[in-house]
């Protein structure tokens, strides 16, 4: 094989690799832009105006006390999510976690519909890393004492 042929093949290889990587980089960038999920509070979401609707969002805030409507048979959950300033009605299908209750911090994933209701596909209770002793009578071992059976596994 001639030296020129080798050099030519080498250049062709490098050009090919650059083209493939460049095209791939472009694809990655486009894919990234479309699939970003913003983490917002109700105030921030509503501030976005028209862009707020039908875009995937993670919405964080607290469950407004007294607004929870839970239909256990239909597994249908509605509540108001608030950040203290704005509130958004959230609708979710499926069982909420055991810890879900009034006033707790939650993150919901989903989209805000044109009807102004946030359709949630995933509901997570926010982890608190700081230890707070539960209020008197709310220790699980006291609350669920009646479930303890003799000879249970």
């Amino acid at each position: 094989m001639s030296g020129r042929g080798r050099a030519g093949r080498r250049i062709a290889l490098i050009v090919g690799a650059v083209l493939i990587l460049g095209g791939f980089g472009y694809l990655v960038y486009g894919g990234l832009d479309e699939n970003l999920v913003y983490f917002l509070t109700p105030t921030e979401l509503l501030e976005r105006g028209d862009a707020a609707y039908d875009a995937p969002v993670r919405l964080g805030g607290q469950v407004d006390p007294g607004t929870v409507v839970w239909d256990a048979a239909a597994l249908d959950l509605r509540f108001q999510l608030t950040d203290g300033t704005q509130r958004i009605e959230v609708h979710s299908k499926g069982a909420p976690p055991q810890m879900f209750r009034d006033g707790i911090g939650v993150v919901v994933e989903g989209r805000l519909t044109r009807a102004g209701i946030f359709e949630s596909t995933n509901l997570m209770v926010k982890h608190s890393n700081e230890y707070r002793p539960p209020p008197e009578g709310h220790e699980p071992r006291q609350m669920y004492k009646s479930l303890v059976r003799e000879g249970a596994r």
């Binding site: 094989m1 894919g31 256990a72 048979a73 909420p96 230890y131 071992r141 249970a152 596994r153």
Partner: protein, 668 residues
């Protein structure tokens, strides 16, 4: 007392290590063997000192010495002994200590096994190993000191993170991950050693081949164990969420996998020298980046322990390693010319090149998706996450292409293949692929990537099995051996090659398990009164909720549900999903119950329950072929064990002359 033993061991190790770095460099430059011996002695002494510090910490944990800051942070009198011991790696400081100990062990072993060999390569490699060690000892002396003193001494502690003490795999996943991560330091050190010493042939690759394969294997098993843990604990029925910390373990795996393949091209054809050095440097950097992501608290996840100054140390270290490696690499670039050239397009080296291109693109995608949220938050002040659709869209084509190449590579010879060879080697696997594709579509599979995964999985499976078939038949003819003897001799003659094919089969099993379980996953939530029965999605099974029960344990309070699995009205098994309420944590940790069978997993998670036990809400999932993901991990481990087995040539060489570099020849 314990604090003194622990802290002083680490401080002495740091001082000795700094001396060792200087001694090794001066010793090799000025040709002073006595200095080199003293630097080697530092490697052994460090192992002793770090072992002492680690033992001191385990002792403090087991004796509940809450005056030690780390014990006060993760210990608790009510935690069972076994969990107490493994909480050594359940928080930042302890895990850095464990890391330091593993690195000290690797360093001592690498020095011992390569002493008085390879001229100046080993002293330079030792310099790098000690330098990396110095960084971790510095962390242990400074921002991640586990041996701080608590005063007044607390009476009890909070215990380790509940998510981590909830499953036995937490005893397995972190040590495997550290063995994998830290193990990558050895080939990195020898690569830089090769650059510094000017021994630019493939001595560094041959010397560290087993180290790289072993580290890769640990990393693979760690990732699989992590997936399994996630499946068994997190309760959403998945095993991979493109979480930043999962990505952190996956990126070095991708580059290390590329490296394992591309070094063969250098060994056979003398090509890709700069590329191989770059890959191993990238792998090492990605392990440190992964530790930075998981340990600095910069991303929020199960693994992120604290936010502190430690992140800056890691950033500085990453920057230093990057600049240093690039400068050293650039300095030798003139001497790193390829000895060989690409002869034919249809050759094994081409497949390795494509494999490396795809794995690099894969790494790049994951890196971008992982770092983008950090950059966006730092520069634009917005909190974003990159959704799974991004990763799936970008990486699924790469996955099926890699699966395809996994079948083409073993089937093609080095240099170039004739048309006839191509036809003979590729037709049977192609036939299998077409058959499986048609069958999948006929059985109602409509997802393009699932069909491609099954078809290319079949393609690669047949191609790899055929390598065994032709090898065994050739031996049976040539040596008049029985099939089993022929198989044994075939593998023993070239364990690396045939172990590699077994590992391929493990990857294929995993790929098919992942494709099937993610495509055909079915899910439903149901609130049941006790005694009530519900159909499991898919219709083949039903589940009856029998009764709610609770158990008061010292470290936690368990609420569980007894459930019976029914098939056509007959009782065929029991499941008991639970919620564990750990002391000192207001959020219960779910423990889903999984009925695993080779064809189908039934997965039940207890979501919520009435206080009086009258009813409870469950999430019920079915996922086919999940079993094959875990089995595939085991097969990869088996393949790696075969590849690490000393081959006949190596054994003979070891018996006659210990100075012969490991594994000369052996490849086809």
């Amino acid at each position: 007392m314990i604090q003194t033993i622990g802290s002083s061991s680490i401080a002495v190790a740091l001082a000795l290590t700094l001396y060792g770095v200087v001694a090794a460099v001066v010793g090799v430059r000025r040709r002073r063997p006595e200095l080199l011996r003293s630097a080697e002695a530092v490697a052994y002494t460090n192992f002793g000192l770090l072992s002492l510090a680690t033992l001191a910490m385990v002792y403090a944990l087991v004796t509940h010495d809450f005056s030690v800051s780390y014990v006060a942070q993760v210990g608790s009198r009510s935690t069972p002994l076994f969990i107490t011991i493994i909480s050594l790696w359940s928080a930042l400081e302890g895990s850095i200590l464990f890391w330091g100990w593993v690195l000290a062990a690797y360093t001592a072993a690498a020095v011992y096994l390569n002493r008085e060999r390879h001229g100046s390569l080993v002293p330079y490699a030792l310099t790098i190993l000690l330098g990396v060690g110095a960084f971790f000892y510095l962390l242990l002396v400074g921002p991640a000191n586990p041996f701080g003193t608590r005063w007044p001494v607390p009476a009890d502690g909070p215990g380790p993170n509940p998510l981590l003490q909830n499953h036995i795999l937490m005893a397995v996943h972190p040590p495997l991950l550290y063995l994998g991560y830290v193990g990558m330091t050895v080939p990195f050190a020898f690569a830089i050693g090769a650059l510094l010493s000017g021994r630019l042939d493939d001595t560094w690759i041959r010397t560290t081949r087993r180290w790289t394969v072993a580290a890769w294997t640990f990393l693979t098993l760690a990732i699989v164990a992590g997936m399994w843990w996630s499946y068994e604990v997190l309760g959403w029925g998945g095993y991979w969420a493109w979480d930043p910390v999962e990505n952190a373990s996956f990126m070095p795996w991708l580059t290390a996998t590329a490296f394992l393949h591309s070094v063969m091209v250098q060994e056979r054809r003398g090509m890709l020298k700069v590329w191989n050095l770059s890959l191993i440097i990238a792998t090492f950097l990605l392990t440190i980046l992964g530790t930075f992501l998981t340990r600095s608290g910069i991303v929020s996840s199960v693994h992120a322990f604290t936010a502190g100054s430690i992140g800056y140390y890691f950033l500085a270290f990453i920057a230093a390693i990057l600049v240093f490696s690039l400068v050293v690499l650039a300095g030798r670039s003139q001497e790193l010319r390829s000895a060989g050239n690409l002869d034919g397009v249809a050759s094994r080296e081409t497949v390795f090149l494509l494999n490396n291109l795809l794995l690099s693109a894969f790494t790049f995608t994951v890196l971008l998706g992982t770092l983008y949220p950090l950059v966006a938050e730092a520069l634009r002040g917005v909190k974003v996450s990159v959704g799974a659709p991004f990763y799936n869209r970008m990486t699924l084509p790469l996955c099926v292409a890699l699966l395809f190449l996994m079948g083409v590579g073993p089937a093609l010879p080095w240099r170039s293949a004739s048309r006839e060879t191509l036809r003979r080697q590729l037709l049977p696997p192609l036939a299998a692929a077409v058959l499986v594709a048609v069958a999948s579509v006929a059985f109602g599979v409509r997802q393009v990537y699932a069909v491609l995964a099954f078809a290319f999985g079949a393609f690669a499976l047949v191609a790899n099995l055929r390598e065994y078939g032709t090898g065994v038949r050739a031996r049976m003819r040539a040596h008049a051996e029985g099939p089993l003897t022929a198989l044994r001799h075939l593998v023993a003659a070239n364990p690396r090659r045939y172990g590699g094919y077994v590992a391929h089969i493990g990857v294929i099993a995993m790929a098919i398990g992942i494709a099937a379980s993610s495509t055909f996953r079915m899910e439903r939530d149901a609130t049941l009164r006790s005694g009530e029965t519900v159909e499991v999605p898919g219709g083949r099974f039903a589940l009856r909720f029998d009764e709610l029960w609770a158990l008061d344990e010292p470290q936690r309070f368990v609420v569980g549900a007894y459930m019976t699995v029914l098939r056509e009205g007959r009782e065929i098994g029991r499941l008991d999903p639970r919620l564990n309420f750990y002391r000192g944590n207001d959020q219960p940790i779910a423990t889903p119950a999984v009925r695993t069978r080779p064809d189908l997993d039934i997965y039940v998670n207890l979501m919520a329950f009435e206080r009086d036990g009258s009813s409870a809400t469950f999430r019920i999932l079915t996922e086919p072929l999940v079993f094959w993901i875990w089995l595939g991990g085991g097969i990869i481990g088996l393949g790696a064990a075969i590849a690490l087995w000393p081959g006949r040539r190596r054994r003979a060489a070891l018996m006659t002359d210990p100075a012969i570099p490991a594994g000369k020849g052996g490849e086809r």
